[in-house]
Amino acid sequence: MTKKDLRKAFSKPPTHFHNMVEMTLNNLTEEKEKVKMKKMTLRKGLVFAAITVLALSTTALAAGKLASITSMSNTAYKTFPTAQKISNDIGIEPQLVANFDNGFAFSIGSIATNKDRDEDGNVMREYKSVTLNYTNGNAMVIVTMSGATPNNQDAIAGDKNTYKDIELEYSSHISKSVPDDYIMTEQDKKDVESGKYTFNTGGENITSKKVHVVAWQKDNISYRIMEMGETLDQQGLLNMAYKIIDSE
């Protein structure tokens, strides 16, 4: 047994590992702000948004099936940003609302770099998004905007609504947040397959929450407004979406 033999016991890092290193390095901020990493397991046929993520895929899916999204974000906006500021940061000029009539008000915002990955961990697409958090007491609503186009194949099969000629889609599911070292049980895998649950790693404990989302597109920008919890009902969340559409 030689040192060379010992080295060969490990061989080369897999592609997925190298991709992770590159993504981590690409997302380092000069300000050295704390960066957060979120990983999500997607349920079959459904792409959903989580706290820091807008994640929908189109053409890149031809190369493989979207299996997970990794998102790295850093706090970028401690005060309410202008559309021009967001345009400078990620190249889209979205419609924005600072305060909603139902009491939700802007608290903090972040920019995320998202990567859609196939089942082998290969990056199929990379894109940026902006997430603005709104709070009302302990409740939180998250609005995510991106220039990435949604994927029809994986479109959310939710309730459709039309407002000012814009089609909005409402959907809901249960999201389980689990620690990074959580190992999925066979039942968990079945629940993901059936669409009963989605899983997010990065939590401190195992928690389950209802997640409901309204998604729409306008002027080549994808919007999603999401609540993790049940402070709002379907119409309450839709009303917030309408307010964004009405804003200039």
Binding site: M1, K3, D5, L6, R7, K8, A9, F10, S11, K12, P13, P14, H16, F17, H18, M20, V21, E22, T24, L25, L28, E30, K32, K34, V35, M37, D180, D181, I183
Partner: protein, 169 residues
């Protein structure tokens, strides 16, 4: 050190980061997580690096702390034998065609298994000295343990590897 140099140096150390993290976590996902944490922490603490020429050793030390932190937090939910059955070990070895190469692959698999069976602290000393080719003095500095302890861990590791591999033959 600027971001560009940091990125270049991390990429140069990628193999070392992978081998150390994989040897301690024993699976790809956890390996990625500890390496990612180590990269982020090292970038945040970059101001504490006094001499650039010791960057790799400094980074390795941060990674090892992450590995130990991971070991402390993780609850063993899957045994090593189970791990070998469930983990796709094919990716860890070069694709081979000939019978000789296939036998060689089995040897490396047995060797990997033997390394994985060592106690974590012994395993870390073995990895740093035999695989990453640090000197005993460097291993002493990285692990912050006396020279005698490094030597005894290496001796123990050698004996256990030898015994295990002989049993396999």
């Amino acid at each position: 050190m600027d971001k560009e140099t940091f990125t270049k140096k991390v990429l140069e150390s990628e193999m070392t980061l992978y081998r150390i993290a994989k040897s301690m976590t024993l699976n790809e996902k956890d390996c990625e997580d500890v390496v990612q944490n180590a990269i982020l922490k090292s970038f945040q603490k970059l101001d504490t690096l006094k001499q650039e020429q010791f960057f790799k050793t400094w980074l390795v030390r941060i990674l090892i702390n992450e590995c130990y932190s991971f070991k402390r937090k993780s609850v063993p939910t899957i045994g090593y034998e189970d791990y070998l059955e469930t983990e796709d070990v094919k990716d860890d070895f070069m694709v081979t065609d000939s019978l000789e190469q296939m036998e060689k692959k089995d040897d490396y698999q047995a060797l990997y298994g033997a390394i994985a069976r060592l106690k974590p602290r012994v395993r870390m000393a073995v990895i740093l000295y035999y695989i990453e080719e640090y000197s005993v003095e460097e291993v002493k500095d990285i692990l912050k343990i006396p020279t005698g302890t490094v030597k005894s861990r290496l001796s123990k590791g050698r004996k256990e590897l030898k015994a295990f591999l002989e049993k396999q033959e």
